[in-house]
């Protein structure tokens, strides 16, 4: 059969809701549509007219998986508008909080969502029947990430302790010190995870991507840096909208984000790793080299190894911060709101998350723009499907469908936070 249509109305093991449509004509792919259903331009509208103080708690609710990323992009963007700089231990605490979220999110994806693909299981439950200790290790590692987020964020899900200027309450040296044992265990488990993911079977699939990530002069990026790519992009975050554009596409409610000059681009662990390998801790660099992972990786299926390297880095970095911590004099820096526009990108687990806010002199949000990582990767995911399906076109349909889903899962797409909607339904109390 030379003509066929692959239709997956419900993508399993992808965070949120999405659908995929691929049309094959004469053994050539003639159409690929990754359809994204869910929306939050709602939140952009919801934020208008609210005080800046409410923004971190509102945006944290956009995604249950990466609330810290939303909070971090929010506070950094507002701080940029207000001319506030957060330094020293408060800045370190923000990095630590981000370590917690990367661990939680990456470990969930590695163990529960992505690994079953490589081992031929339909889901983590079936994998656990044969690999109970592996799954238990994943759950235990995630718990260590949760412990960081719970301590700094005030609770595990939807942290509430983050504010513009810092935190509502900073943990004591002793409280933070109690994390150390869990983190040491987690670092060892992360090393095992790197070894374990590296021996999975990977298809031979490399593409000439444009990787985009933050780049900071002295550290692997979480909250700050310039936006760079392997194809010449090197801009301040404030120039983001001069270089990136969001386009409506007919088949999806989601907006596709493109580079104005060159189109599709790739954000997330692979992009960060390729553009910042030299900023990983020596332990993480060594672990990558030990498993034969070059400093540049262009195979998105291998992103599971790169995620495990980032988990190792996050545990290593978290330990460094915990061990060097001193209680700051104030949990937040003092400032006065001022009218202006502020923007920020931070590195969410899935890639750069852009926020821009227009604020009044009293600190009211006049306008908000949010570009999540998955909408930035969407065009690249479609391109991957186009190129990957052609290589695998003679496979039986169920296997081909599975491989398409796997190709999508390489990006750990968080579809629930990626999209925008056109009709608003808001009920205010």
């Amino acid at each position: 059969m030379k003509n066929k249509t692959i239709k997956v109305d419900y993508l399993a093991r992808v965070e949120g809701e999405g659908a995929l449509y691929i049309k094959i004509k004469n053994n050539k792919v003639s159409d690929v549509k990754l359809k994204i259903i869910e929306p939050p331009r709602f939140f952009e509208a919801f934020l208008r007219g609210r005080m800046y103080t409410e923004a971190p708690d509102i945006t944290a609710r956009i995604c249950g998986i990466c609330p810290v990323a939303y909070q971090m992009s929010t506070v950094h963007a507002i701080e940029q508008a207000f001319g506030v700089t957060v330094e020293g231990q408060l800045r370190e605490l923000r990095r630590l909080l981000y370590c917690g979220e990367w661990i939680e999110s990456h470990v969930l994806h590695i163990y529960m969502l992505h690994a079953p693909d490589f081992l031929g299981y339909p889901d983590a439950m079936h994998m656990a029947q044969d690999y109970p200790d592996v799954v238990k290790r994943g759950l235990q590692m995630k718990k260590a990430g949760n412990a960081i987020v719970a301590l700094l964020g005030g609770r595990e899900v939807h942290p509430i302790n983050v504010r513009v200027g810092g935190f509502y309450k900073a943990p004591s040296k002793q409280e933070l010190g109690q994390l150390a044992e869990k983190l040491k265990w987690g670092r060892d488990a992360a090393l095992e995870t790197v070894l374990w993911t590296a021996q999975l079977p990977f298809p031979d699939f490399e593409q000439d991507y444009e990787f985009v990530a933050l780049r900071h002069p002295t550290e692997y990026p979480f909250n700050e840096g310039r936006l760079i790519s392997n194809k010449g992009l090197d801009i301040a975050i404030q120039d983001y909208e001069n270089h990136f554009i969001e386009e409506h596409v007919a088949h999806s409610n989601a907006l596709h984000s493109m580079l104005k000059e060159r189109g599709a681009y790739f954000v997330g662990p692979l992009a960060r790793y390729n553009l910042n390998f030299d900023k990983l801790s020596p332990l993480a660099q060594e672990a990558a080299k030990n498993v034969g992972l070059d400093s540049i990786c262009k195979n998105p299926f291998r992103s599971i190894i790169v995620r495990s390297i980032e988990v190792l880095y996050a545990f290593d970095e978290a330990l460094r911060i915990v061990e060097g911590y001193e209680l700051p004099e104030q949990p937040a820096v003092r400032f006065q709101p001022q009218a202006g526009i502020g923007s920020a990108c931070t590195e969410a687990p899935r890639g750069i998350l852009y926020h821009r806010y227009k604020l009044s002199g009293e600190g009211l949000i006049m306008d908000a723009k949010i570009v999540p990582p998955t909408s930035q990767n969407q065009k690249t995911i479609e391109n991957d499907l186009l190129n990957y399906v052609e290589q695998a076109i003679l496979l039986p349909e169920d296997q081909l469908t599975w491989q398409c889903e796997q190709a999508i899962r390489n990006y750990d797409p968080c579809i629930s936070c990626a999209t925008h909607f056109l009709t608003l339904h808001i009920e205010r109390e």
Binding site: F42, E104, L108, D123, V157, S416, I426, R428
Partner: protein, 175 residues
Amino acid sequence: MSISSQILLIGIGNEYRGDDSIGLHVIRALKERELPDTLLIESSGGGAELIEMLSSVRIAILIDAVSSGGKPGAIYRFDALKQTIPAQLSFQSTHVFGVAEAIELARVLGRLPPSLILFAIEGENFSICVGLSSKASEAVQKVVERVSCEVQDFLKELRTEFPQEDEISRNGLII
């Protein structure tokens, strides 16, 4: 978690997805009942966290919204120790590693609590909005009553199994 809390009630949902927030509303209403020895939690339904919470209690009751094509407001009750959670029930979780997966994974790993009851409520409107449909609101009241009764029954069982001090001396178990 308080050590004295032997019963855990978890309401699962997303505040901003209409009837998906049913579980959260049930928990808020149950808080007013001030049930003894009972811990109430609002959760966004992340599977790994659920497994963690479930493995540390004796009795857990989960309340979540579903979309299975049934009549809006319909209430399903499952005893997870006696049955698997039907795959055709689509839990409206923003996270695909969600409630049903968490329960089944916990079962495989031997981490289910001795008692686990799941109340699933058929939602009607899962669009992006705040607030419940009228059918879902009615169901919330029914589930609150039912869960309160079950908690009382569990408490009676627990008292029989682990008698309180006054009951202990009354029954002459300890001198």
